[in-house]
């Protein structure tokens, strides 16, 4: 690459200027108020983690991590997500704290981009982790909390799609005997290539009924009625169990009264293999990519030596910024206390007094009142010219 020009930043990095940061902070505070009410405590973890611990446990692909060497020669990564660092904390510093543990975070994470600009390599997330509860009630809690968060952020129209990683996997196991074929079908589902999936399903040596069941998987997205359709597709085992899990999850979500914001999607498969149960993605109208991703990951904590079931989600703040109805607060009128050198002390005392009374005050040295007024007009400040000597004269 050519030597960077002075205005250039590394690929995928961006500045946050005051105008948009005001809005993001407002949103973060709305989300924080919402999440704290559910009993979650905020946590901050280091920006750098060892590749061999957090990096290896993370769901993010190795090729997308920013890797560096520390002074001792260890490979370290810029944290690619917050879930693995939190798992590390829960299994080490918090190892004697009884489960369940509820934590949340509002921070930046880093994922290197391979494709052209327009995708962020550093982005802010607000997320929660509920560690130590196996029951569907925990999944329902985080999904209901995600709904509350999107409401608190005043997102007009949104849907959260709920699936289960074992459904598609289990159904494929029931129908397709060859592991290699299953893997290819699974890959097509992950790639969202339904054409490839159907073509391969069409070429397999299975009965027509079985083929119809494979095809039907692609249509299992919609409301509650899809649960029954899903159940009918399964014979027993893993997929049937996944349906049962979704049934009880849906019942719990009905109790939360949030099902109007939900839809079921049994072919929602995540490219992240670390999910182990119910998974979900939140979408907003007029936003091309998911706003929220989450799900159950029951095997991660064991990698840090404290096996425990867990579930959680993360909201992408840059996407939330695009769909929130919250308008940034008007910038409060700024006062400018302007003074000639001879009145410095008086002016600065006055400025302090005004600040104590809640005003935003800028001070400026200027010998002429006329010039001070012009200076203030240009910048939109209300000018208070303090000239003690003149008053005394």
């Amino acid at each position: 690459m050519a030597r960077p020009l002075v205005f250039e930043k590394p690929l995928g990095m961006r500045d946050m200027l005051p105008e948009s940061l005001v809005k993001q902070r407002q949103l973060e505070s709305a989300l924080r108020h919402c999440i704290e009410k559910w009993g979650y405590d905020e946590i901050v973890t280091p920006s750098l983690e060892y590749y061999d611990t957090v990096g290896a446990a993370s769901a993010t692909l190795e090729s997308r991590m920013f890797k560096l060497l520390d002074k001792q020669g260890h490979t370290v990564v810029l944290r690619p997500d917050m879930t693995s660092p939190i798992a590390r904390v829960v299994a080490s510093l918090y190892k004697d704290v009884p489960l369940p543990i509820r934590l949340f975070y509002q921070t930046n994470v880093f994922r290197a981009q391979e494709k052209e600009a327009g995708r962020n390599a550093e982005f802010f997330q607000t997320g929660v982790e509920l560690i130590g509860t196996e029951s569907g009630d925990a999944d329902a809690e985080v999904i209901a909390l995600a709904v509350s968060c999107l409401q608190a952020a005043e997102v007009n129209a949104f849907k959260i799609a709920i699936g289960h990683v074992d459904f598609a996997g289990g159904l494929l196991e029931e129908i397709v005997s060859e592991q290699a074929d299953r893997d290819r079908l699974w890959q097509f589902l992950q790639d969202r290539d339904y054409v490839g999936y159907r073509q391969l399903a069409g070429s397999l040596n299975i009965t027509d009924t079985e083929r119809r069941r494979l095809h039907a998987l692609l249509h299992l997205r919609g409301g509650k009625e899809k649960i029954e359709e899903a159940r009918q597709l399964t014979v027993n085992g893993k997929a049937r169990k996944a349906v049962q899990t979704v049934v009880s999850l849906w019942e719990a979500l009905e109790a939360y009264g949030v099902t109007e914001h939900l839809l079921l999607d049994f072919n929602l498969v995540s490219s992240l293999n670390y999910y182990t149960g119910a998974v979900f993605e939140g979408y907003a109208a007029d936003l091309g990519s998911p706003l929220v991703t989450g799900g159950r990951y029951d095997h991660l904590l064991a990698q840090f030596g404290r096996p425990a079931p867990a579930t959680g989600f993360a909201i992408k703040m840059d996407r939330l910024m695009q769909v929130t109805s919250i308008r940034p607060r008007e910038i409060t009128q700024r006062l400018a206390v302007v003074y000639p050198a001879s009145s410095r002390q008086e002016a600065l005392l006055e400025a302090q007094k005004l600040r104590k009374n809640g005003h935003i005050v800028i001070t400026h040295l200027c010998e002429s009142e006329e010039a001070a007024n012009a200076w203030g007009r240009e910048r939109g400040y209300e000018v208070l010219y303090v000239n003690g000597r003149e008053e005394r004269e």
């Binding site: 327009g118 007009n156 129209a157 849907k159 799609a161 790639d191 969202r192 290539d193 339904y194 054409v195 490839g196 159907r198 073509q199 069409g202 095809h215 997205r221 919609g222 839809l263 999607d265 993605e281 979408y283 907003a284 109208a285 007029d286 936003l287 091309g288 990519s289 998911p290 695009q322 769909v323 109805s325």
Partner: protein, 219 residues
């Protein structure tokens, strides 16, 4: 977003040219009211009266980009472009039009060379294919007239789409290896696929009604 959100309105990204015309025939047969004069229009955004559809006309390679970013909800595009662009979109239907094949071609007397060079409009497809074959080749990206490359010694082989094979024959080239078959696909944005599921399913269903008439059923 201050404007009201219409979850029925669908924006369809279409490649300019032959595929757009064929797709319009499809949609007309499926009962979507599309004006007869559309293909000649020079406008790039075309609303369809009496329906909640809107077309964006784009370069084929840009269709998946529009759909991935969600400025179009669905798109119609060749599998060649999808393979090359690697965009994160749903591939819903094989429309079975625009049928051709992705081929490796070269001169009839082609022999393996020490430093193989392959010219193509599809550098990602070419790189991926030769890697899978266990061959290291230098891929040269060209933007057109790829058949020229072996004739003037820029490359010893090309990777390109072939439909009738006429262009190859006219330039004295032959098909050496078959990479994959290509047809036109209906794709959808990840969020639209869920937020506008009814509208997306409806348009897919309409395409589906006419596909079997054209060819063997796929679903």
């Amino acid at each position: 977003m201050s404007q009201p959100i219409n979850l029925k309105k669908l924006t369809i990204a279409m490649p300019k040219g032959r595929i757009f015309e064929e797709s319009l025939v499809f949609l007309r047969e499926a009962g979507v009211k599309v004006g007869a004069d559309l293909p000649d229009s020079r406008k790039l955004i075309i609303p369809v009266e009496e329906s909640e559809l809107e077309f964006i006309l784009a370069k084929p390679a840009d269709v998946p980009t529009y759909v991935e970013y969600g400025v179009a909800d669905v798109g119609v595009v060749g599998k060649d472009v999808l393979l090359e662009e690697e965009r994160d979109v749903y591939e819903l239907l094989d429309l079975l039009i625009g049928r051709c094949r992705m081929m490796v071609a070269g001169l009839p007397d082609w022999q393996p060379t020490e430093a193989p060079r392959v010219a193509t409009k599809y550098p990602r497809i070419a790189s991926r294919y030769f890697r899978e074959q266990g061959q290291q080749v230098e891929v040269i990206k060209l933007n057109g007239s790829v058949e020229l490359a072996p004739l003037i010694g820029l490359a010893d082989r090309i990777v390109d789409i072939v439909s009738t094979g006429q262009t190859l024959r006219e330039n004295g080239l032959i098909e050496l290896e078959h990479i994959c078959d290509i047809t036109t696909r209906l794709i959808a944005n990840r969020a639209s696929y869920r937020m506008k599921s009814e509208a997306v399913d409806e348009i897919a269903q309409k395409f589906l009604q006419v596909i079997p008439k054209k060819n063997t059923p796929v679903m």
